[in-house]
């Protein structure tokens, strides 16, 4: 037997493994386990009203991580010098260390270079979890990062929890009324979450953190011929207090009726995916798993059956009223009042009453 270098008893402890460790120590202290620890969030920025801002969903993710994990929360932000003015805000919401990948050319979003930058920081800090907001850009970058890091990714999670370092990701599973909880067999465990799924945390003004600068690794940029900013006319349904929501059970004429009612009572009009698929309503009014999450005081669903994907978006509504002709419509499980009646006729009556 070889000499044991880890203790003073000259080999009498009986070590015989290659690590030179006392027997059983590997198992006892889980030393062959990954050292992945911290949580990493991509802090996405966007130009909102001509000003560079942190996108809300990134902050919602920081808040969620603070609630479910004791590990440090590390941020990665990509952009040029002007990103600096956002530091204070980011620390106030709970980031401990912020990696700033600083590069003039990366003031413009490039999915390939952004994914490389996120993966580069991940390789450096070895996080247990990476969360990315389910925005149009986040949903494009996240799978590319997952491919670089050769790890799994769960899209559009509606709930996240941690069991030790293991992240449990919950989302509606395809097509039917099933909610699945998914785990990832590798570190880092990656997930995207749609905006509005988790609440905005309260900022702690004056909270401090550390900034680390990183060089961009990818100079392979796309040739963008033109980029035109669109003002997103947010009827912002995620902030509305009252929502009149329309589904496949209504006639097309009722949309205008609902808009009139909404204008009178200070509500907004939203819809199910069925109406977006028909081209009757724009995608930014769609409520649900692949649309928006909403949290109004009152949600009134006219002619919406209540598919699992739709219900995933209305869990935070304080009061839900449904109008449906089918007494067994699944939306019944979730609502406070279920009015068994014809949606078009009831909308027309409401309109009439408000006009008189």
């Amino acid at each position: 037997m070889s000499d044991c270098s880890t203790c003073s008893s000259g080999g009498s402890c009986g070590t015989n493994n290659e690590n030179g460790l006392p027997p059983g120590m590997l198992q006892q202290y889980n030393l062959n386990q990954s050292t992945a620890e911290d949580n990493l969030v991509w802090i996405e920025t966007s130009i909102i009203d001509d000003k560079l801002k942190v996108v809300d969903v990134s902050i919602e993710l920081i808040g969620k991580l603070k609630n479910i994990s004791d590990s440090r929360t590390i941020g990665i932000i990509i952009g040029d010098n002007d990103v600096k003015m956002l530091y204070d805000d980011i620390f106030a919401y709970g980031i401990d260390t912020l990696y700033h990948v600083k590069d003039k050319t990366l003031a413009t979003y490039h999915p390939e270079a952004y994914a490389d930058a996120i993966a580069d920081v991940a390789n450096r800090i070895n996080p247990a979890v990476i969360l990315i907001g389910g925005t149009s850009r986040g949903r494009e970058v996240a799978p590319r990062v997952a491919a670089i890091l050769a790890t799994g990714l769960t899209a559009d999670c509606t709930e996240l929890s941690m069991n030790g370092r293991a992240l449990l990701m919950t989302r509606p599973a395809f097509g039917g009324n099933i909610i699945a909880t998914i785990s990832c067999s590798n570190f880092p465990q990656m997930a995207t979450v749609r905006p509005g799924t988790f609440p905005m945390p309260q900022p702690q003004i004056g909270r401090k953190g550390t900034v680390m600068y990183r060089q961009a690794t990818n100079n392979d940029l796309k040739d963008i011929i033109s980029s035109e900013r669109k003002k997103v006319i947010e009827s912002d349904i995620s902030k509305a207090k009252i929502l009149i929501s329309l589904g496949k059970g209504i006639k097309k004429e009722s949309i205008a009726v609902a808009e009139r009612i909404a204008a009178k009572i200070g509500a907004s009009v939203s819809c199910s995916r069925a109406l977006v698929d028909k081209g009757w309503m724009p995608q930014n009014r769609q409520v649900g798993q692949s649309g928006r999450n909403v949290a109004p005081d009152v949600y009134i669903a006219f002619g919406i059956s209540g598919s699992i994907q739709h219900k995933a978006g209305i869990g935070s509504a304080k009061k839900i009223i449904a109008v449906n002709t089918d007494p067994d419509a699944p939306i019944k499980d979730l609502c406070d009042e279920f009015i068994l009646g014809n949606a078009d006729q009831i909308l027309a009556e409401m309109d009439k009453m408000l006009n008189s």
Partner: protein, 255 residues
């Protein structure tokens, strides 16, 4: 040019039902070519010329041949089905890895790869980005328009708050998010023509993939458990036969 088209067959989600326990009833649900894949094929048809070839590829069970047949009817020249028992249960990572093996082994001479934005059933939109990274090529998401002239091709991408026009480098991946509802539908002659073309089937071994690279074993994510949510929520049922009483009730409730 050689265009690869990655497609997926999906259950017609407008036809899915659940049983009393909340489990999916999949038998009897017709499978269709994912609509976004059809948009992608339509987009290629708009820019292709006579020398160009379109190769449609899918990973799936043998029934997925139907979706490939639909592609052949709609203008694809060749079709490949990647099918093997070991492919079952693949997550997006294992799927992308399988498709990558196909591209590298069978069609490394491609010029561009087209995908549909997302599959209507899973809705994750992950495979296009994972595939393009595994092939080390640039990715173009949310593509709504494409044009081609002598100098090359450009695409128009819609990020929701930004419309981008980009030059397309040779060997790019294009993920199509919108289609023309008035697109070309297959005629009888196209249908007959398609039936003559052969759909080639490739399995795990012919793609040179190990058992731990594909399917459930090659997947990074696993479902730990699933349930159908049943709520004990008490809801008041209100008779709405008289629309005006119901309307009054709602308006009073939101005051």
């Amino acid at each position: 040019m050689k265009f690869l088209l990655m497609i997926k067959q999906v259950p017609d989600t407008t036809m899915i039902n659940v049983d009393e326990n909340g489990n999916l009833i999949r038998t009897g649900v017709p499978s269709i070519l994912d609509p976004y894949c059809e948009y992608a094929l339509d987009m290629i048809n708009r820019i292709k010329n006579n020398e160009d070839r379109i190769v449609a590829v899918t990973m799936g069970p043998l029934q997925a041949k139907e979706a490939l047949l639909r592609c052949l009817e709609l203008g694809a020249d060749e079709a490949y089905l990647l099918s093997d028992k070991a492919f079952a249960g693949a997550d997006t990572y294992a799927t992308s890895r399988t498709l990558t093996a196909f591209v590298n082994k069978i069609a490394p001479d491609y010029d561009h790869i087209f995908c549909g934005k997302q599959a209507a059933d899973g809705d994750t939109a992950q495979v296009p980005a994972e595939l393009s990274r595994m092939l080390c090529i640039p990715q173009f998401y949310y593509v709504e328009g494409i044009s081609r002239d002598l100098t090359g091709m450009t695409v128009i991408q819609n990020y929701g708050d930004e419309i981008r026009t980009c030059k397309l480098p040779h060997m790019s991946l294009i993920s199509v998010s919108q289609g023309d509802l008035n697109r070309r539908l297959p005629s009888i002659s196209m249908h007959l023509e398609a039936a003559k073309k052969e759909i080639q089937t490739l399995d795990r071994v012919s793609l040179g993939l190990g058992i731990f690279s594909v399917g459930l074993k090659g997947s990074k994510t696993k479902i730990v458990y699933s349930y159908s949510p049943k709520s004990e929520h008490k809801c008041t049922i209100i008779d709405g036969t008289d629309p005006s009483t119901a309307a009054k009730h709602i308006l009073e409730g939101i005051k």
